[in-house]
């Protein structure tokens, strides 16, 4: 079997698995977020945190919940790392420095999971499992909660109420993420991923010398790392590490986990707004971009010229032989089009265009299908923008899902789309202009520029993957990337929730034959065009100086 055919088969299997799980999971999540019932363990949690899960919240209250919870999470995670040296089960690792501890705390709470540390050389069991893995669940649940609040904004009318943040947070964790992650961990263990709390082993190498390996609750963390589109690896090599991702089957399963919830949420959205077709249109736009990027990535990686590449069947540098080009390309596209950032290969080693595809995937705002929750709300913001521009062309003032897109709505949507470009381009420009940050680059020229552009793109979009090659454990990068991650995560949430509130207050406009149909392929196509032109063009000059200059040269 040729590697290309293997790629097609893997993609087909992936699509089939996603299609099979789409309906049951999407419908299940719609029920989870709409149900009136509280399970007993959930009630215990509400009692402990002192929340009334039945109390409806308006958007400022909902936002306060999100921000307060996240602030406490950052603080706790920071403290855990700072006192690691005195915690039991720390494998003897010392406490983390303040700037790196801040960076890591911000990173995991913002669902970014950028790692400026080496997992196996810095974090013990307690921080890994009790801190980082916990945030893998909670930060993902926060993203889903905000998305659901926005969906409620569309679905409800003449009320400002968006549901209860604490209920959404707890349910997302208890009813969605925990059970799927549990099953996922079992599958990964079956595939050969490790799951233990063993200490450090010294292993003799073939070439002589010894290597030190520690165990850990890897499979369980791996499952939620992918499922919650987190991406922070237990080990520095992330999903390229055989303990995390042992074989092609586990690889495909991890890609499946990454894409599972973001795609299924479009079904949840369709259910909750009362029109499955609206969900399909959003799904269609996401799927077109994802498939297009996957195809492009495989093409550019397979087509890479040169004798060494031809023997390997393509650009194999930085890729694991057990995954091959197809398994690596699919993973790279999935991880950068979602806010995952896990890697099973080194994006820095991809061809110029390949690296550009990973960059552009993040720069589109990670909406195809995007992070858990964040993908859906990001896509819905773009849907609002697309409706606003093109909706006028049917001769009515713009409306989406029966809600008028007026001054306030477009203000909030416009603020949303300003945040990440401002962070990415702003920080990259400052970093390029200052003398010291450039010292972190391993490469010169266009590739070196790509390293820094990639770092800020990844942080501001809450991806977390690194281009490799950049030494990001400096005070400058730890601090600015940490700020970019926090602002890139929570500022957009402010606008999303405000938008949700303003939509929920409106009275719905009835649909007529004169209304723009947003549940048709034409609209999905329009949405894709809007995303590519508006967000794509923002980064065109920067991309030209990085991956394009590199890619066109070969």
């Amino acid at each position: 079997m040729s590697p290309q055919l293997a790629g097609v088969l893997q993609l087909t299997a992936l699509i089939a698995a996603l299609a099979l799980s789409y309906r049951p999971l999407g419908d299940y999540m719609a029920r989870v977020y709409s149900s009136e019932k509280h399970y007993r363990p959930e009630k215990w949690i509400y009692r402990v945190i002192g929340a009334n899960p039945a109390a409806e919240m308006r958007w400022p209250a909902y936002l306060r919940g999100v921000l307060a919870f996240s602030a406490v999470s950052v603080l706790l995670l920071y403290l855990m790392q700072r006192v690691q040296g005195s915690l039991p089960g720390s494998l003897g690792f010392s406490s983390i420095d303040p700037d790196q501890a801040f960076n890591t705390a911000a990173s995991f709470v913002a669902n970014t999971n950028w790692q400026s540390y080496y997992g196996e050389q810095a974090m013990g069991h307690v921080v890994q499992t009790g801190g980082l893995a916990v945030q893998n669940f909670l930060s993902a649940a926060v993203g889903m909660a905000v998305a659901v609040a926005l969906v409620r904004g569309f679905a409800r009318s003449r009320t400002g109420e968006l549901g209860n943040f604490w209920a959404d947070l707890v349910r997302g964790t208890v009813r969605v993420l925990l059970p799927i992650a549990f099953l996922g961990a079992i599958v990964l263990v079956a595939c050969g991923a490790i799951q233990n709390f063993s200490g450090i082993h010294s292993v003799g190498q073939f070439t002589g010398g010894t290597q030190e390996w520690n165990g850990g609750a890897v499979a369980s963390q791996e499952a939620i790392k992918e499922l919650g589109t987190n991406g922070g690896g237990y080990f520095n090599a992330n999903s390229a590490h055989p303990f995390e991702n042992p074989n092609p089957l586990s690889n495909l399963f991890e890609i499946f986990l990454i894409l599972l919830i973001p795609f299924a949420l479009t079904r949840t959205f369709g259910r909750m707004v009362g029109s499955l077709k609206q969900g399909y249109a959003i799904l269609g736009a996401m799927a077109v971009i994802w498939l297009g990027f996957s195809a492009l990535m495989m093409w550019t990686e397979f087509a890479h010229r040169g004798p060494a590449f031809e023997i390997a069947g393509g650009a194999m540098e930085g890729k694991e032989t057990r995954f091959g080009i197809a398994g690596s390309s699919l993973f790279a596209v999935a991880t950068t089009l979602t806010s995952t950032g896990a890697v099973n290969s080194f994006h820095s080693s991809y061809t110029g265009f390949g690296g550009g595809i990973t960059l552009l995937g993040m720069q589109l705002g990670e909406i195809a299908p995007g992070g858990v929750g964040s993908g859906l709300y990001g896509m819905l913001i773009m849907a609002v923008i697309a409706v606003f521009i093109a909706g006028l062309m049917v001769g009515r003032t713009p409306e989406y899902l029966g809600k008028k897109i007026g001054t306030r709505q477009i203000q909030l949507a416009a603020c949303y789309i300003l945040v990440t470009p401002a962070l990415v381009l702003g920080f990259t420009a400052v970093a390029m202009a200052l003398p010291t940050p450039a010292d972190s680059m391993t490469n010169s020229g266009a590739h070196g520029f790509s390293e820094i552009l990639y770092a800020y793109t990844s942080a501001a979009n809450n991806n977390g993957s690194a281009f490799a090659g950049l030494n990001a454990d400096t005070q400058w990068f730890n601090t600015t990337l940490g700020i970019a991650m926090l602002l890139g995560r929570f500022l957009p949430m402010v606008f999303v929730l405000a938008l949700a509130g303003s939509l929920a207050e409106q009275r719905p406009v009835p649909e007529t034959a004169g209304t723009l149909r947003t549940d048709k392929p034409l609209y999905a196509g329009l949405l894709v065009g809007t995303i590519l032109i508006i967000t794509g063009l923002t980064y065109f000059p920067a991309l030209a100086l990085g991956p394009l200059a590199e890619g066109l040269a070969s």
Partner: protein, 726 residues
Amino acid sequence: MSTATPAPTRPPRTDAPPAGGPGAAPARGGSGLFDPRQLVTSFPDALRKLDPRVMVKSPVMFVVLVGSVVTTALALTDPTDWFGWAITGWLWLTTIFANLAEAVAEGRGKAQADTLRKAKTDTVARRVVPGVDSLKQSRTGVRTGAPAGARTEERVAGTDLRVGDLVVCEAGDVIPGDGDVVEGVASVDESAITGESAPVIRESGGDRSAVTGGTKVLSDRIVVRITTKPGETFIDRMIGLVEGASRQKTPNEIALNILLASLTIVFLLAVVTLKPFAIYAGADDQTSMIVLAALLVCLIPTTIGALLSAIGIAGMDRLVQRNVLAMSGRAVEAAGDVSTLLLDKTGTITLGNRQAAEFVPVAGVPAAELADAAQLSSLADETPEGRSIVVLAEEAYGLRERDPGELPGADWVRFTAQTRMSGVDLDGRAVRKGASGSVVAWVKERGGRVPEDVRDLTDRIAEAGGTPLLVASADEGGDARVLGVIHLKDVVKEGMRERFDELRRMGIRTVMITGDNPLTAKAIAEEAGVDDFLAEATPEDKMALIKREQAGGKLVAMTGDGTNDAPALAQADVGVAMNTGTSAAKEAGNMVDLDSDPTKLIEIVEIGKQLLITRGALTTFSIANDVAKYFAIIPAMFAVAYPSLDRLNIMGLASPESAILSAVVFNALVIVALVPLALRGVRYRPASADRMLRRNLGIYGLGGIVAPFIGIKLIDLLLSLIPGIG
């Protein structure tokens, strides 16, 4: 308005072709077509608009202005650099072209304003000195019938009038201000405002009492109570509106401006941050401030930014061309969103009057006898219904129309609202025609009997939506008898069914409003193809209907003219008051139709939609244009640093300088090229939203991506002919 008796004061304009066609245009200042000369004549205005305080209202164009100033300063530091000067010049032109678009749009209104100003010459008012007696009577609006000389008058300037003053206007006088006729009746020439030369009747009381300052009394004498302060009259407001001086940004325009501003910020970020990237890449020299300013101006949505206000002004102007004055741009926008149209039956859906369609004799009476009697009895009936009976008798039974004068000894009985009958007593024979109740009473009075089948006949006609009139005769000494029934029918205007089908495809529901009984209303509604009807409608019913529709989130448009329409007009999202209506109605509505043609509501909706479509189409075009500009400018800036990027120069542009200049020139020229489209509006044909979107996306979306590739290449070809550039 009553349909049984025609309002005698209604101007006989219902049969006239809809205004707004070519016939009405010459009277108004501008025409619908764009004249390229306007670009030249408006140029001075465009320069005047360079005032930064004016420019700042359009964030996109303000950025271009700042860019122009910056490049000018830079060009001055290096006066030998032709490229810097060329870019500077074209950036200024971009700014000026934007102002030009607005100036041209406004210029079209100015001509109209000048015509109106002529009507607003200083008038001398004959104010009635308030006397206890006359004032009291006049205030109540009761005709006093007092002789004209009984009042003391004083001559004051029209500008000194106060609200509540009474002024006397006689034949030849110009009415000094807006007001209501409280006494008398007169024919008034309103051509100064409406462009229509046929005089209209204005009389005290009723729905035809409003007069407008600046119009001229042609005959008779009226007393007018002033209702508007000088300077705030209808004509003043009209001047403000057509000049665009009082133009406020509409909600959607504000929202669009916000989006354009945010896109401007995004591209500003992209360009500003490019400098450190370029320095790192070793392309410092190729990314001078001038080049970056050029890139920025090319990327920000200047096309729509430049044309946005022209589109808005032109939309209002298109309404003015059709003799409709929108009191706010918001109303025009709302017109595009309307999903329910309330249409008055009479004059909009049906011709103004019912017409005789059929003579149905009772058993035993020859049809010709009935026709003869019907004709005889209608000769003295001057109402349109009466005339139509005579016409039908002639057309269907060959009965020549007889002149009442040729029948000596005939005693004519005229139609009155009280008797509801007309007829003639001739040679001892009495013939009557009229409402069934009246005729039946008349027959019974004379000892006649009403046959059983008369009731069946009248019921059948009523069910079919018609109005039955009975014809009866009585010979001297003999019993009176019913001869038969005349079927009076509402005649639905031609083409209305197609019009309503069109509206339905656009997602607009039509509701017919009529004073008829539900049976009649249903029949006409079915014939005309409206979606729904409101029968026996009172103003309260109308109001309730509007509120019900609005509660469901729908926007409602209606027309009205009477004082009792005022609350509904105010409640409706688009309320079009007829110019012939009362000032209360005109105050309440947000549009005034100077032609008083209720059919125009449909056109108003179409103009509203066209305005929004034009805005969306040019926004899409503007944003789609950016793709090609990148392909021109990025290789021009960076091909030196990274030769591989020259592959992006897919247009094969001659040199970096010509590439950048071509993009800038294209960006400026496309504004001028699109001015006619902005003023005229994009072609609009009623269709479903889906088809419209597909069509407009194809033209302005895909076209917007492709067009600049061609345009920039062509300009580059021309530029490369200039020595030293290519």
